[in-house]
Subunit: 252 residues, 2 copies
């Protein structure tokens, strides 16, 4: 198999040794893979192998197996009938439905979160949003994706909902690799968001406006990438690989 590897996590300002220092190898692997998926570092369609990931992460294939199995349950990773492990390619139908689901779930989570968003949290959101502007003008796609995720989930986490949060995370896991593909292709120049409207509404304590800003943030993103998707599907059909392809690596 032509196996894919993942680019190291130690990019610009390496993440501070992963959030919690879980003793579990499995949880470390899961965290590494989830982050790689959210950021879109793993290219959809290219196969990964248990042993390959295990070697890269310095563990035995066993914890990787369990981590992959967990991600597969969330549909973040596809395991074909023959056992081939890939990040799923999304067709336009799926993309529409994911954005549809996001537009249902995330405004509600935001509304639930609003009462728990204090001034300090607002300041942090503002900081993140400022950094997003920088990353956009720099054209730094990866940094943008990290920050955009941070912005949204800084909100959703305040919902304190272990029902909505997992559902939303699950959808982002599936969407990340695709977003990365789009941004890597069409760039982030024309990208607009509704973060500032959201922050204004949040500052006013206006739950309805807050939720609506989040909904628009998602829906307009949908329109923006609509054409890119159509183009991508005709211009970049599932590559019929014939040779091994050098690919980025992942580490914990």
């Amino acid at each position: 198999m032509s196996e894919q590897t993942l680019s190291t996590l130690s990019g610009p300002q390496a993440s501070p040794q992963d959030l919690s220092v879980r003793s579990n190898a499995r949880d470390r692997v899961t965290s590494a893979l989830r982050e790689a998926l959210i950021i879109g570092r793993i290219q959809p369609g290219l196969p990964m192998t248990l042993r390959g990931l295990a070697d890269q992460l310095g563990v035995s294939p066993m914890p990787v197996r369990e981590a992959i199995r967990g991600l597969a349950a969330e549909r973040a990773i596809d395991i074909s009938a023959s056992g081939r492990i890939t990040v799923p390619r999304l067709d336009q139908k799926r993309i529409t439905e994911i954005l549809d689901a996001r537009a249902l779930l995330e405004p509600r989570a935001a509304a639930l979160a609003l009462p728990n968003i204090d001034r300090e949290c607002l300041r942090q959101l503002k900081r993140i949003d400022d950094e997003i502007d920088v990353s956009l003008s720099d054209g730094n796609v990866e940094r943008y994706m990290v920050l955009n995720h941070a912005f949204h989930f800084a909100i959703y986490e305040r919902s304190l909902s272990d029902v909505f949060l997992p559902l939303i995370e699950s959808v982002w896991l599936r969407f990340g690799p695709f977003m990365r593909m789009v941004y890597g292709r069409v760039g982030t120049t024309g990208l607009v968001d509704h973060h500032k409207q959201a922050l204004e509404a949040a500052a006013r304590g206006d739950a309805a406006a807050f939720a609506e800003a989040i909904r628009l943030d998602i829906s307009e993103g949908m329109e923006l990438i609509g054409d890119a998707v159509r183009d991508a599907e005709v211009q970049h059909p599932p590559p019929r690989r014939r040779r091994k392809i050098a690919a980025p690596k992942v580490t914990i």
Copy 2:
């Protein structure tokens, strides 16, 4: 540990050897556990063990491990920090949020499905709903839960959405054990649903009314069990077990 086992699947008219004859042990285990969860056959809070489940299902602990890990990723099963495997107990907050998420996701899935619901499908839905009435008047809780699941998912499957369907399945997996607890406690006598309104709307091809009927079916269920939940939480606090408890078994 006082370990829980699961009641055999071979109840009245045993399921015809599970849907697909997957060669995978893991998939068989997963199917068995998912069904047990949906029907609510596994009592929340009581620990299960990998080796115990493996013995009951006639496989090695390995496929059970992966199946459990997958279900844990969907939050259908909880694995504590110490590794204890249980079906999560739901507090009132979670229950409300689950019903909230259902009321968001399921009407949309129903609307997506409506164009794909033909006359034959409608007839089948009608048949299921008739059987539901029978099971309700019989007070057969388990059969009601199987049928109610069948009714809803016969609809949602027609959405042909592998975005909405997994999200909804995930929520049902979490909700099943709780529903069973409620029905087992307060009975199914006062139970009302909006299946017939849904079928009428579907027959008319009225997507909005169809979705609304589904939403009401969920929301009114919410009210119905509201008090039961409150009572349950004070009358049935998390039992501080001190001895082993005999519990039902599960088989493939």
